[in-house]
């Protein structure tokens, strides 16, 4: 059992003071613009101090226990158990059971919850698709793409414009959106082939912004900041659907899209090209020395990732029935990147869980009212501090389990 030292107490006091300082303008100072007064809520400062102090002590306790356990494992007194997530996912019966439960829940969701909730879940599922798409580029191939939102915008505007000018419907545009995404993926991939790491990130970030600025300013083409409205939702054999029914229908379509994406990404991950992507991520020079064409492999990653963003963009346009450039800012790219990193690079389950957490949490934190985004940010920071490798680390396939 670990003991609390005076050093721990000093550290905890330091942490408490630091957070009190940080949150002073947020939690203590309240400006009432109507009555033109400033209210000083000193009791909040006290709460922050106490919470920070306690949290620091608790985390130190956990760290000490973990260290002690590692020491005991090293000395052979205790067995090293594989990570909890691996135990959960590795057990085939457990996985099947959990999968069936989840499937039933998702299928019954519209019957159990309001249309508003269904809408939220649809949004979350779209981000799952985006996360899985970006996972190909960032998680598998290791190419830090900060401009992913560009392909999302391409898909959305493809639907908006093709409907506006040619009256094309959802199902016609969906594959077109994917193809256009792939095309732009290759176009944007070519200039960045020689770049690595930070430079690749900056250039892709630039591309994301270029697309948005073009959409905003080339009004003759994209109708500028006012956007394009009246985009139809997907039809069901020409039936007339009420708003509620259309939303539920779109929910099931998005769910199908998620399943399709998971299927494809899973196949890709354990294929010849998936291995080439991982080799590229691990060691570019060794990868080339083994006969893998760096150019084609990188372009394939960009193209495939962008295809999914394009298709997700078509879904987005169908869901919100209105697109404008403001929906495709860098923040979107950042959120999708967060999803991939939080989920664990290359892990499908991790990305799905991370997407659901990241999108659903702000919605369900509405109970915290004003402090919703503060808590959200704190959760993100905590996740990266305590589990930087992501929720679920990618596990490679084994081939000789029969031996």
């Amino acid at each position: 059992m670990a003991v609390i030292t005076p050093k721990d107490l000093r550290n905890a006091a330091g942490v408490a003071l630091w957070f009190m300082f940080l949150t002073l303008p947020l939690l203590v100072v309240k400006i009432n613009t109507v009555a033109r007064t400033v209210e000083w809520r000193w009791q909040n400062l006290l709460w922050v101090g106490v919470a920070g102090f306690a949290a620091s002590l608790v985390s130190r306790l956990f760290a000490a226990r973990k260290l002690a356990r590692q020491e005991r494992i090293r000395q052979g007194l205790e067995r090293q158990l594989p990570a909890a997530s691996r135990r959960l996912l590795g057990h085939p019966r457990l996985r099947l059971g959990a999968g069936v439960l989840l499937a039933l829940f998702l299928l019954a969701f519209p019957a159990l919850f309001s249309t508003y909730q269904v809408n939220i879940l649809t949004t979350a599922l779209m981000y799952v698709v985006l996360g899985l798409g970006l996972n190909i580029v960032v998680g598998l191939a290791g190419l830090l793409d900060l401009g992913y939102v560009a392909f999302y915008a391409v898909g959305a505007y493809a639907y908006a414009l093709l409907h506006l000018h040619f009256g094309l419907g959802f199902w016609t545009v969906l594959p077109i959106g994917g193809l256009l995404g792939a095309l732009f993926g290759i176009l944007l991939g070519f200039p960045v082939l020689r770049l690595r790491g930070d430079y690749l990130a900056i250039v892709t970030l630039g591309f994301g912004e270029i697309i948005r600025l073009v959409l905003e300013n080339w009004s003759e083409f994209s109708r500028g900041p006012s956007g394009i409205a009246n985009i139809p939702r997907p039809g069901l054999f020409g039936l007339d659907l009420t708003l509620d029914q259309a939303i539920v229908y779109l929910y099931f379509l998005t769910l199908a899209m998620v399943l399709f994406t998971v299927f494809v990404v899973n196949r890709l991950q354990h294929s010849r090209i998936g291995r080439a992507w991982i080799a590229l991520r691990e060691d570019e020079i060794a990868c080339q020395a083994m006969g893998i064409d760096k150019t084609r492999t990188k372009l394939a990653a960009f193209a495939l990732g962008a295809t999914w963003a394009g298709m997700a963009g078509v879904f987005f346009a169908a869901k919100t029935t209105f697109v404008n450039p403001a929906s495709f800012t860098f923040l979107e790219s950042a959120i999708i990147l967060c999803i991939v990193v939080l989920g664990g690079m290359g892990s499908i389950v991790g990305v799905i869980v991370a997407a659901l957490i990241l999108i659903l949490l702000p919605e369900y934190l509405r109970a915290f009212a004003d402090y919703r985004m503060l808590v959200f940010g704190a959760v993100l920071v905590a996740m990266m501090v305590f589990r930087p490798q992501g929720l679920v680390t990618g596990v490679r396939r084994t081939y000789t389990s029969g031996r």
Partner: protein
């Protein structure tokens, strides 16, 4: 029959520094050739030029596969050169650490297989057959290098000697004509070195040619059919192990000049 690999007048400049100075070297079919020399002589730079990581400033690198036209390697992409039949291991081991042992070797099969994106997603009979072949060939290579029992372990968890053997297995998976080994015995104990010698001789018995950089003189003398000695980027001697051992230029390069006032 022309040599498998002919290097003529190879020069490599990095700005003002001449790392390779009109280097001449050749490897004949089925030969084990050793490239030795003091540290900093330019041996690994030579390997990097040979495998396309650097583009040589001058000279010729010509590969002549048996029964085929000679092919100039200068300026080709590294992946292309591997396709032509050159495979290498690295001085500082460059394995794909987060992949399993078997998957590292499977990567070597990439340039000899063809399944693309569509095949990966659909997994038709041709794809499945190719995957089975990849796994089968890779497992066989692991058997040869004594790593079959660790096939599903993560590569990073292997001990040092096993990692070196894994690199060799991975290079062999590309079906090379010429295997380039960069200090394969570095850090190995005598037992491991003896096993390595066996392995290299078995590889040669399969019809490959081998060019190796080594500092372990016992291994070099035992294995090599021919030795090239480098210093300051140029060839200072060549010959059979016995000839090279006696060559005064070689002795001078390694041990320095004899002085009279010590």
């Amino acid at each position: 029959m022309p040599p498998l690999l002919q290097v003529s007048g190879l020069t490599m400049d990095f700005g003002g520094i001449r790392a390779l100075d009109h280097l001449d070297l050749r490897v004949r079919h089925g030969e084990i050739v050793a490239l030795i020399g003091p540290n900093g002589a330019g041996k690994t730079t030579f390997f990097n030029c040979l495998t396309g990581i650097y583009t040589p400033t001058g000279g010729d690198l010509v590969l002549t596969p048996p029964g085929r036209e000679p092919r100039r390697l200068n300026g080709l992409k590294p992946s292309r050169i591997t396709e032509q039949g050159l495979a290498r291991t690295f001085q500082n081991i460059r394995l794909f650490k987060s992949m399993t042992v078997l998957e590292n070797v499977m990567i070597g099969r990439h340039c000899r297989t063809r399944t693309g994106i569509v095949g990966a997603v659909c997994r038709g009979p041709r794809t499945r057959r190719e995957e089975r072949e990849i796994v089968g060939t890779s497992l066989a290579l692991l058997e040869r290098t004594g790593l079959a029992d660790q096939a599903d372990e993560v590569a990073a968890s292997l001990p040092y000697g096993a990692q070196r053997r894994l690199e060799i297995a991975r290079a062999l998976a590309t079906e090379p004509l010429l295997l380039l080994l960069d200090e394969p015995a570095a850090g190995m104990n005598p037992q491991e070195t003896a096993e390595l010698i066996e392995l290299i001789m078995a590889i040669r018995a399969d019809g490959l040619s081998i060019l190796l950089i080594e500092h372990d003189m016992k291994l070099v003398m035992r294995l090599s059919d021919h030795i090239f000695v480098m210093d300051y980027g140029r060839r200072i001697a060549e010959g059979t192990p016995a000839e090279v051992r006696r060559d005064p230029a070689v002795i001078r390069a390694y041990l320095g000049e004899e002085t009279t006032d010590a």
